[in-house]
């Protein structure tokens, strides 16, 4: 195990070290101490390593992750796991706004609450939030899954494309072109897989509702002008 203390080591040095790792690396386990809310901790990792961050991170923690398994033992600032490609990022605390934004793949698990714009413009990432999510979440979400065990704020899934949203609690309001949809057997299976991957065993898929696109705003239609 490599331990790097950010109270001593500059952040750029940590990230350069992480970037030097590749597929066959022998240094498979990393521990990062004293992040103290610094930005861009463990950003751009491209190797199948495990990274444990002991404490809260600032902006973009674990951003652009590819292949790595990153666990943040604390809360995360704006843009955690932004544009993740693959691998996973787990936040043990809360996440600030735009968690998992534009993510193309991988799994983001937030064990606390996520603030506004969670999963904005997601493009294939799977996001599981144990708590609540804020307003404008899954805005323009293109593909992937957003699973919320708690409640969702205003304008969920505004202008959504083909991402699938599963919410167990209440939804304050749905955004333009986002509607509740039927939970068919394949959705129960899909949701069960996601919950399992996120290590969640205490809820049933039948407790969730599914939301997705009504597909009315895909292409500009003059009759919809009022909706813009």
């Amino acid at each position: 195990m490599r331990t790097i203390d950010l109270a001593v080591t500059p952040l750029r040095e940590l990230n350069s070290e992480l970037h030097r790792q590749s597929d066959g690396t022998n240094e498979a386990e990393w521990e990062i101490l004293n992040p103290r809310g610094q930005h861009a901790v463990a950003v751009g990792v491209d190797a199948p390593i495990k990274v444990a961050v002991r404490g809260p991170v600032g902006y973009y923690g674990g951003g652009m992750n590819k292949k790595a398994t990153i666990t943040i033992h604390g809360s995360a600032g704006p843009g955690v796991a932004e544009n993740m490609m693959s691998g996973s990022v787990v936040v043990k605390g809360d996440a600030s706004q735009y968690a998992g934004a534009t993510g193309r793949g991988g799994l983001l698990v937030i064990e606390g609450n996520a603030a506004s714009r969670c999963g904005i413009s997601m493009k294939g990432i799977d996001i599981v939030v144990r708590g609540n999510i804020g307003h404008m979440s899954a805005f323009m979400a293109q593909s992937g899954h957003l699973v919320v065990l708690g409640d969702a704020g205003d304008a969920l899934g505004d202008s959504i494309y083909e991402a699938k949203l599963f919410v167990r609690g209440s939804v304050k309001s749905l955004g333009a072109d986002c509607i509740e949809k039927e939970m068919r057997p394949e959705h129960h299976t899909q949701l069960a897989t996601l919950l399992d991957k996120a290590g969640i065993k205490d809820v049933k898929t039948s407790e969730f509702k599914r939301y997705g696109s009504a597909r009315k705003l895909y292409n500009f239609n003059i009759d919809n002008a009022d909706a813009y």
Binding site: G37, P56, S75, S96
Partner: protein
């Protein structure tokens, strides 16, 4: 961008450390607002006394004889304590308004940063840690403090354009964001007798809250009303003599994080600002909700 820090102390034992903790918080927010910085510190009141914090770009010239001139005009002794480009004038409470008028009338180079029983405001152009050292923030004590690091967007980088803004006795406001209806709102406030020192949008927000409180609202109610009347992006942190308030606009894209323990309530634009506070590992930490008033009083 801008950075905001705020600390509202609940446990009196921590009051001597107010300045030290605020300085440490402010230092973490330098990159968010490198062009100027300022802070309001609410110290201990003196019975029957009011304080005016004043500033001058040519302090050696403007402060010379200021104490004597004011004592003469007001007919009472005035205490004067210079701190770099600023000075704190202490006068009998019933002479505070007269002192303000006398400064405005007779000392055009002297600008009034704040007035009240407990508030002192210091602000200058420059790197935030330099500003905090210039005024020895570390050595100050008190019940609450609000600091700001500025990256200017809506008006010039000047001392008067730095935050906090104070538009009423013992009141102050700092702002991260930009307002879009400040011009029309300002016209309305001017019509109702409010006066302005700058072209800054944040000053309009401060004056708006003062105007509402002059109508008899408390800070919490005034903040609630601001959601209807202010348009634009904002995270505000606001202080009164015994109150501390936080509000974000409904879009809430300007960052905010808060922490609370038995000893204090703290605000930071980012967690970094809170990381060095005592007991932060055990604190309740949360992101303030959009369009929601948070308000503490002692």
């Amino acid at each position: 961008m801008c950075g905001i820090v705020g600390l509202f102390i609940k446990d009196k034992a921590l009051e001597p450390r107010l300045g030290e903790l605020t300085a440490q918080m402010l230092a973490t927010m330098c990159e968010r607002g490198p062009d100027s910085a300022g802070f309001a510190v609410y110290g201990a009141p003196e019975d029957g006394k009011a304080k005016l914090t004043v500033q001058s770009a040519d302090a050696d010239h403007d402060f010379a004889g200021l104490e004597a001139a004011l004592s003469k005009t007001l007919g009472v002794p005035v205490e004067f304590e210079r701190k770099s480009t600023h000075a704190v004038l202490t006068v009998p409470a019933d002479k505070a308004e007269a002192a303000r008028a006398a400064i405005k009338a007779g000392h055009p180079g002297v600008r009034i940063m704040s007035a009240g029983e407990t508030i002192e405001i210091y602000k200058e152009v420059g790197w935030p840690t330099d500003v905090s050292e210039q005024f020895h923030l570390k050595e100050m004590s008190g019940s609450h403090a609000i600091g700001h690091t500025r990256m200017a967007t809506e008006s010039a980088v000047t001392t008067m354009g730095a935050h906090p803004f104070s538009t009423g006795s013992d009141q102050c406001l700092v702002h991260n964001g930009s307002l879009s209806n400040h011009n029309s709102l300002k016209r309305k406030l001017k019509h109702d007798g409010m006066t302005f020192e700058t072209e800054n949008d944040s000053e309009v927000a401060a004056a708006y809250l003062t105007w509402r409180m002059n109508q008899g609202m408390n800070l919490g109610q005034a903040l609630e009303k601001s959601l209807d009347d202010l348009d634009g992006f904002f995270t505000f942190v606001v202080g009164t003599k015994n109150g501390f308030g936080v509000i974000r606009d409904p879009i809430a894209c300007k960052p905010a994080v808060m922490a609370e323990t038995d000893q204090y309530v703290a605000f930071g634009s980012e967690y970094r600002a809170l990381a060095g506070l005592p007991g932060i590992d055990k604190a309740k930490i949360w992101e303030p909700e959009p369009a929601t008033v948070y308000f503490w009083e002692r």
